[in-house]
Amino acid sequence: MTSMTALGFRSWRIGYLPAIYIILIVVIIGAGLTSDRFLLPSNLIAVFQQAVITGIVALGMTIVLIGGQFDLSTGAVVMMSAVMALLISPDSAVAAILAVFIPILAGAAVGVVNGLAVYAVRANSIVVTIGMQFLIVGLVLAAVSGQHVYPENLAASFRAIATTRIFGIPMPVVIFAALVALLSVLMSKTVFGRHVYAIGGDIETARKAGIRVIQIGTLTFALSGALAALAGVIIAALVGHVDPTAIAKYEFPALTAVVLGGTSLSGGEGRPAETAAAILVVSVITNLMTIMNYQYPVQLLVQGILLTGAVAFYAYRRGHA
């Protein structure tokens, strides 16, 4: 069944609930029935923790994609900020603060460059952000000579970003939940959010309506860059060291979640909370496959099926809307 949202766009819903939430519930029940271990509190927390890094990247990507553009530089930004945070070598509380904020500012700066190239110069966002990805990876590898970054002393205050628990819930999960809430409000209740939807719906119409397309559009990329950088900082705090050649590619798992959550690849539609639900769906499936001893190639295969299946499904829905 399809109904309308307050913003006016269609999303696939069952009754009043977006379908992705129903899918999440079904997947959780299915996983619980399949494996006794799945519903253990420690495993459920692991599911959330698994989702957090990709989830934070996916939230930023959602905002950019609602604006009608792609940000494929995020994986490289995650790696850059993790390396930067550890190179700052946060061995004191002050250094720890710098190790959080400098990478986030650097990530936002990368986003500003991407955004200006896309919205002011009107370059293709896929090409711009893939180019940026190469540039960042090259610069970071050159900066650390391709070596593992392994600081000897990390301040407890820095590690606390990843290790603190609030009512038993790990800090990164709390940060992720807070970001989902914050971005949901930003996109649905503020002028900024409304303008991003308008730009993604029809950029020329937005321009003619007097919306500051370059500023707003660039800000979406800056947000995406800052969020990817935050994800990198959390990795640095969690692991305490980074091998820049081995850091995972986050952009495609994130994109899978964004698309699975119903964000339109052509812009103007999507919601951060539905991306978050989708990332949990992916995380539950991945977790279940790990419990059931399916190897990484099978997990990749399932991820590929989810991405292409979701794209095909939503394309079909929109074609028949």
Binding site: M4, G8, K189, V191, R194, Y197, A209, I211
Partner: protein
């Protein structure tokens, strides 16, 4: 005589080597519908986009209420109470009527939050004043009829105190009934004292709706004639031949 709302003096515009406008002068008065007709490529759209602030003229002067103006963007034109209703209606199809009504001019509460309730009330009142049958304003505009979409664009312009309305092919995509509705609307707006620049291909329509008809060809103004007493053949003749010879001005 009342002063013109908009006065264009010798406006020229080129794109690369192509001279899209070659010294066009035109005035639009309050309570007047000035029609602008001509073939594709005659320069109508470029002229409209200069008046609405999308392009800047290379040469010439534009006066609004007697004051020279230079628009850097569409927002400048709107600040001067010139509202444009584009052929595409400049509506974001993914948003609902209220969001489109206030697009770019949202009512805000503190910290950039949308005043959603007030916007909905104002938009509903404005749309229903124009068309009492306009009730369901929460659908995405892509699901609305051409007439309803047109009504949103017009209601938006009128609500924001337009003194001059530029309508670019307002009935091009409409059926006969909706075309008649929009025609009625134009006449009502004219009575309210708005100046209207009506760009159209439909010569019969402009004779019915306009006070004066400006004909363009190849970036030049061929002539301006009174709609009263004009006939289709004479206007079509001007459009094709690019000459106003023998036409009553």
């Amino acid at each position: 005589m009342t002063a013109p709302i908009i006065e264009l003096v010798d406006i020229a515009k080129s794109f690369g080597g192509i001279r899209a406008l070659k010294g066009v002068s035109l005035s639009i008065f309050p309570g007047e519908v000035m029609a602008l007709v001509g073939h594709n490529g005659a320069g109508k759209s470029v002229l409209v986009q200069i008046i609405s602030g999308v392009f800047s003229a290379d040469k010439g002067t534009m006066l609004v209420a007697g004051q020279p103006v230079q628009f850097r963007n569409p927002a400048d034109a709107r600040d001067a109470a010139i509202e444009t209703i584009y052929q595409t209606l400049a509506l974001a199809d993914n948003l609902d009527a209220t969001a489109n009504f206030f697009l770019g001019r949202e009512l805000r509460k503190a910290f950039g939050f949308l005043d959603t309730r007030r916007m909905k009330d104002v938009a509903a009142r404005a749309l229903q004043a124009l068309n009492p049958e306009f009730i369901d304003i929460e659908r995405p505009v892509r699901q609305m009829s051409g007439g309803q979409r047109q009504a949103i664009a017009i209601a938006r312009a009128v609500h924001f105190n337009a003194r001059c309305l530029i309508m670019d092919e307002p009935t091009a995509a409409l059926g006969p009934r909706e075309t008649a509705e929009v025609g009625e609307l134009i006449l009502r707006l004219r009575q309210k004292g708005l100046g209207i620049l009506l760009v159209s291909h439909d010569v019969r329509d402009v004779i019915r709706l306009a006070n004066r008809i400006a004909v363009m060809k190849s970036g030049q103004l061929v002539g301006v004639v009174d709609a009263e007493g004009a006939n289709e053949d004479s206007i079509v003749n001007m459009i094709i031949r690019g000459s106003a010879k023998g036409i009553r001005h």
